[in-house]
């Protein structure tokens, strides 16, 4: 049983890690969710004993109820985080018209190039950021839906 758990967890974690190295943000999120669920499975695997369902009155040895309580909490948390991450991907998409990491890092580089000449002045730097005026990357993408 432990071996089965280990192989499954390793498979999920490995797949998640592979997906997280992709350029596409959606796959990256999918990778994050897989890794989170691998951790949840790991909690289940760390149960101290196995047995019948932990409902009273129990007939025979009960399964460890504590890990089930923990994994339930962890599932809720990872669900909330995944939802938040997806909202963020959507916001990245609406502000860049792209979910491709290379385009995003191109935008980041342009930002730092724009910063460089006025880097002497932090205040302007910040005002620039809050204006959110589109740099060239967004300008070229503006034609898209």
């Amino acid at each position: 049983m432990t071996l089965l758990f280990s192989i499954t967890i390793a498979g999920m974690f490995g797949t998640g890690a592979y997906l997280m190295l992709k350029r596409d943000l959606i796959r990256l999120i999918a990778g994050m969710i897989l890794i989170g669920n691998a951790a949840n499975l790991f909690i289940m695997a760390s149960a101290l004993r196995t047995g019948v369902a932990a409902i009273l009155p129990a007939s025979g040895q009960m399964a460890d109820p504590l890990v089930q309580a923990m994994v339930l909490t962890a599932i809720v948390i990872s669900f909330a985080t995944a939802a938040l991450a997806m909202v963020l991907v959507y916001r990245v998409y609406t502000s860049h018209y792209s979910v491709d990491l290379q385009r995003l890092s191109a935008a980041e580089e342009q930002q730092s190039e724009r910063d460089e000449p006025e880097s002497e002045d932090l205040q302007e730097d910040i005002e620039d950021d809050t204006d959110g005026e589109p740099s060239e990357v967004y300008a070229t993408a503006e034609g898209r839906p």
């Binding site: 997280m20 943000l25 990256l28 994050m32 890794i35 989170g36 691998a38 951790a39 790991f42 909690i43 695997a45 760390s46 149960a47 101290l48 504590l66 890990v67 923990m70 909490t73 962890a74 948390i77 909330a80 985080t81 938040l84 991450a85 963020l88 991907v89 916001r91 990245v92 502000s95 860049h96 995003l104 935008a107 980041e108 930002q111 910063d115 460089e116 880097s119 002497e120 002045d121 932090l122 205040q123 730097d125 910040i126 950021d129 809050t130 204006d131 959110g132 589109p134 967004y138």
Partner: protein, 456 residues
């Protein structure tokens, strides 16, 4: 009584979540709630200072069955520190007009998470509060809602989610090897655990907290996030959220894994030294002030790591002291660096002196404690390193300050109220430097909460 600060922040956060936080009155109410939490924590702290550790089991369960809240002096120090940092950043943003209706509520929830995780005595509950703090900060990083902030938030969420998952796996491993989730019982049973699983678990937890702190090999996300976010959020991240890392390393390292910490002491000192040199070197070569501060943050955590690596009661005390002063410095610098006017300039100068470790600013104390520690333990190379780090930080702080002066213009000065807020914080840092006895005695008391470990 123990749960009072948590309850205040929780109810306050819920209230603020449904109202329009961009309106000034609500912003001030949020600040008042935060201030009430600070006062409640300090009152609890005075009680603990006099009468020792307080604990209770939540939900009416008997001790040992329910989740325990256990507050010691170290928890109080970090709780008050995080809350003060959040309060200052919140007031700064309220005076400057809050840009998003959810901002005050998020700051309160972040305060709830940070207070909860230092108050809890249960490892899994620690993870839950940790995630409350992280979820609020994920949203906070995107505050400002420009493309740049969304990119920063995305980097932040990806890296820190991995860190949280590693921590969760570490907790599950602790449960499996010791059979307990209560930290005190874990501590008692950890020596019975075989060496290999214990080292693996300790490593997982070390990596998880180092990611939060931005220690050298795990720092890659930090500059992009700190430079991408608004100054108030950068101050919150470096002043309050990074405390999770320092507190977690102290609590789990010194308390639960003293044997593993002792074995890894060389590694910690090496990573700390690498962090100081890398952060200082990068900061000197940068131009934008917030970028310099971001790399400086990487360098400063190196000192905490060295104190932790040397260990022993003096080492814990030095680590706590340095964490406190570093948080105050970072908030002061990130906030005053974004303002104009001579008052803010003066506050910035105090912060710059403090980071470089020049008296009379508070940062001097932290450097002094580390210096003393290295001399006592006979590490001449660390003495040299602390000097080198101090010299580097003096150079980069001086560079930023010189640029500020040369760019200073008469026309645009920030509101006097917000400058006054930072002057208040600067005065606090100065007072700590001139009259350090109260802080030193509190920190010494806090370090006694940790076991002496295996150190001579």
């Amino acid at each position: 009584m123990i749960a009072l600060p948590i309850v205040i922040l929780w109810l306050g956060g819920l209230l603020l979540a449904v109202v329009d936080g961009t309106r000034k009155p609500w912003g001030w109410i949020a600040s008042a709630i935060m201030a009430a939490a600070v006062i409640a924590t300090i009152i609890l702290g005075i009680d603990i200072y006099e009468n020792g550790v307080r604990e209770m089991a939540v939900g009416g369960w008997s001790m040992g069955v329910g989740i325990t809240l256990r507050v010691d002096m170290m928890g109080i120090v970090f709780a008050v520190l995080s809350q003060v940092v959040l309060l200052v950043s919140l007031m700064y943003e309220v005076i400057n007009d809050v840009g998003a209706r959810i901002f005050p509520a998020l700051v309160l929830f972040l305060g709830l998470g940070l207070t909860g995780l230092v108050f809890t005595g249960d490892a899994f509950n620690f993870y839950v509060f940790f995630e409350i703090a992280m979820l609020s900060s994920y949203v906070l990083v995107s505050y400002g809602e420009t493309p740049r902030q969304f990119r920063a938030a995305f980097v932040f969420i990806t890296v820190n989610l991995l860190g949280s998952v590693l921590f969760l796996i570490g907790i599950a491993a602790i449960y499996h090897t010791t059979g307990f989730l209560d930290m005190e019982r874990i501590r008692d049973h950890m020596p019975l655990v075989q060496e290999n699983p214990a080292i693996l678990t300790a490593t997982l937890i070390f990596i998880a907290f180092s990611v939060k702190l931005g220690l050298f090999p795990f720092h890659f996300w930090l500059p992009a996030v700190y430079t991408g976010t608004r100054p108030a959020v950068a101050a919150i991240l470096s002043g309050a959220l990074a405390n999770i890392g320092s507190y977690g390393l102290l609590r789990f390292g010194a308390d639960i894994f003293p044997r593993e910490l002792d074995q890894a002491s060389g590694v910690l000192i090496f990573l700390g030294a690498a962090s100081i040199i890398y952060g200082g070197h990068q900061a000197v070569s940068r131009h934008a002030a917030n970028e310099v501060l971001a790399y400086s943050a990487i360098g400063q955590v190196g000192y905490i790591m060295i104190a932790l690596g040397i260990g022993g009661p003096l080492g814990w005390a030095a680590a706590i002291l340095y964490a406190v002063l570093n948080s105050l410095n970072k908030v002061l610098l990130f906030l005053s660096g974004s303002l104009r006017g001579w008052l803010a300039g003066a506050a910035f100068a105090v912060g710059a002196f403090s980071v470089s470790g020049l008296p009379p600013a508070g940062g001097f104390l932290g450097k002094m404690a580390l210096f003393q520690l290295s001399v006592d333990q006979g590490h001449p190379e660390l003495v040299a390193l602390i000097f080198l780090g101090g010299a580097l930080s003096f150079v980069y702080m001086f560079q930023i300050y010189r640029r500020r002066i040369s760019e200073a213009s008469e026309e645009d000065t920030s509101p006097v109220a917000v400058q006054g807020l930072l002057v208040g914080l600067a005065v606090l840092v100065l007072v700590i430097g001139v009259y350090p006895e109260p802080l030193l005695s509190i920190v010494e008391h806090a370090s006694l909460a940790l076991p002496e470990g295996l150190f001579p």
